[in-house]
């Protein structure tokens, strides 16, 4: 129900000293504005960095070989070694909790001379032999055709899936690459799919310049025997990949006669660990933002409380009159608290609107300029946070009003009446 008298009084008392009301409101406005802008920027930073990872399965680990650094069982240190197909079976057999196991072998790369040719076009691209599961560990968007499948692996088909940048440099824009052949290090392969990276920035660029072929095809075609380059492993969702990583490395060390204490011999990269670390950083940033934001907001709210105290003091006599003619303490308190909540919520709401406006503006500008930054992307404030902020505002407004309200009714009516 809309209580005209209540609002008449609120507006009257706020209008009594417009500058004061404005400055008080500004404190709250600034608090919520800063909170929203900082939260939005924090989200932008987080979006920028996490989208750099694309849909990368974060509970994954990559394991490759390096040189041994410890003499062991008659082998000298500094030995090179390779994983092989038998390792694949051994890992599958012995290590539990592996969801996807995708061995990978790479041939050639972007660093060397042009290794891929089609007609008069050529380029230097990363060639990698993969299993279908690779697309579940480090997924890409399949824009046309398909990814490597199990039959490709089984029959060692000479087929490839190429990145968009590969397509651009080998094919004319109006050409249909699917079904066409390209020559990779002297051997012809049929293009069966085109993919693009889900990541952003440099990572995406790297991805898009790659060519995938069946793992078995690459081993056979380029005389790698049964060598395996890298194991990509994803653990089940409820299992930490770190334990899987440890077990796998232990098994590989046994199989390749590497000293158990030789940590240098096996290279590995734990995405989960990296991701957790990054998440930790963002949680820290988030925490800091809330701390500073709430602090600023608190300062604004304390300002409101102060002003309400002054208003109550100024209006002591009026409150005395109201009580003399029958206003209950509840009525007086509700009046003051409503005023405080109104001031806080109104100023806060404007701060919220301005904050979201600025965030949206920045977002718009970023989209418009088309910068694909690895650091900052899509700043946003979720609706939930905005609603939370508003609720915090209303509650803090009520708290800010409570002390002055209590003060207003703690004075005896007769003393209030006598005050000038």
């Amino acid at each position: 129900m809309f209580d005209t008298d209540k609002w008449q009084e609120i507006f009257y008392s706020l209008k009594q000293n417009k500058l004061r009301s404005f400055l008080t409101a500004f404190g709250v406005f600034w608090g919520i504005f800063m909170l929203i802008v900082m939260l939005g920027s924090g989200n932008g930073l987080q979006n920028g960095v996490t989208q750099g990872f694309g849909d990368f399965a974060t509970n994954s680990v990559f394991i490759w070989t390096q040189r041994t650094t410890v003499e062991y069982k008659g082998f000298p240190k500094g030995r090179f070694f390779n994983y092989d197909n038998a390792d694949i079976i051994a890992i599958q057999k012995n290590i539990k909790n592996i969801r996807y196991l995708a061995p990978r072998l790479r041939a050639g790369g972007r660093g060397g001379g042009d290794n891929v040719v089609r007609g008069l076009n050529s380029g230097a691209f990363q060639i990698s032999g993969d299993f279908p599961d690779m697309n579940l560990i480090d997924p890409v968007n399949i824009d046309a055709g398909r990814f490597i499948n199990d039959i490709d692996i089984e029959q060692k088909r000479k087929v490839v899936v190429i990145g968009t940048r590969v397509k651009e440099s080998l094919f004319e824009p109006d050409e249909e690459p699917i079904g066409q052949y390209i020559r990779i290090q002297g051997v012809y392969f049929k293009v069966v799919g085109i993919f693009s990276s889900k990541k952003s920035g440099e990572r995406a660029d790297g991805d898009n310049q790659a060519i995938f072929m069946p793992f078995t095809t690459l081993q056979k075609t380029y005389n790698y025997g049964d060598v395996v380059g890298v194991f990509a492993i994803t653990a089940y969702d409820n299992v930490s990949v770190s334990s899987v990583e440890e077990e796998t490395i232990k098994l590989l060390k046994q199989r390749h006669l590497i000293a158990p204490e030789d940590d240098q011999a096996i290279g590995h990269f734990n995405v989960e660990k990296e991701f957790k670390q990054m998440k930790g950083v963002f949680m820290g940033i988030d925490g800091l933002i809330w701390l500073v934001g709430i602090g600023t907001l608190l300062a604004g709210v304390i300002g409101v409380s102060n002003i309400m105290l002054v208003i109550v003091k100024e209006r002591t006599k009026e409150i005395g009159i109201q009580r003399a003619i029958g206003a209950t303490p509840m009525k007086i308190m509700s009046q003051i608290i409503t005023e405080s909540v109104f001031l806080t919520a109104f100023a806060g709401y404007i701060g919220l609107v301005f904050g979201v406006g600025i965030i949206e503006l920045v977002n718009f500008a970023l989209l418009k300029s088309g910068t694909d930054s690895n650091m900052f992307r899509n700043p946003e404030v979720d609706f939930q946070v905005a609603v939370t902020a508003l609720i915090i505002l209303v509650i803090s407004g009520a708290i800010a009003g409570f002390i002055p309200a209590k003060r207003a009714v703690s004075i005896k009516p007769i003393d209030a009446l006598r005050s000038e």
Binding site: Q8, E318, A324, G326, A327, T328
Partner: protein
Amino acid sequence: MIEIKGLHKSYVTGNNKLHVLKGLDLVIEQGELVSVMGSSGSGKSTLLNVLGILDSYDVGSYKLNDTIMSNLTEKKAAYFRNNMIGFVFQSFNLISFKNAMENVALPLYYQGVGRKKRNKIALDYLDKMGIKDWAEHMPNELSGGQKQRVAIARAMISNPKVILADEPTGALDSATSLEVMDLFREINKSGITIIIVTHEKDISEKTNRIIHLTDGIIESDIILKN
């Protein structure tokens, strides 16, 4: 109607204790028009504040309409002030941001009466006071006499049993004072008890009973034949 027995009241300020009311016994019947006189410091205002439940008392008893007024919660006190008592002050005590009509309607607002209805009732009362034309005016646009009429209308709107007036003519010139007193007499005829605190003899002579306070005790209690 009003029954006071052995009423004591003292104020403590720092180490000093000021004994203001020193054992008052007083009975005021329904429909009386009483004036309380006394020099400043005699305790007449304190008595009025106790009667109006604006202030507490220390010893004795105070019955209003057969209900003992002691240890009331502030909510209860507000209820009694709202329903049984009407106040008229020397300085009018109108709410500055409300117009005459809204000021009069205020007690009904605290009773939860709807805005339209209470403003209509308020207009009736302003009409009775002869200032209906000024209903939309703010207090600072009214003369002293008009303000006091608004205040009296406000005191009457909730149909109180008793109207307490603290120096109601103190800020008015003598002609207006007499008008206001005539108004009180008029209201009194409808059966509402009126107690007026004053130090002006000609004002008290307009009432039907004069109680003289000196140093916190009743010095004399005279019934006039008006």
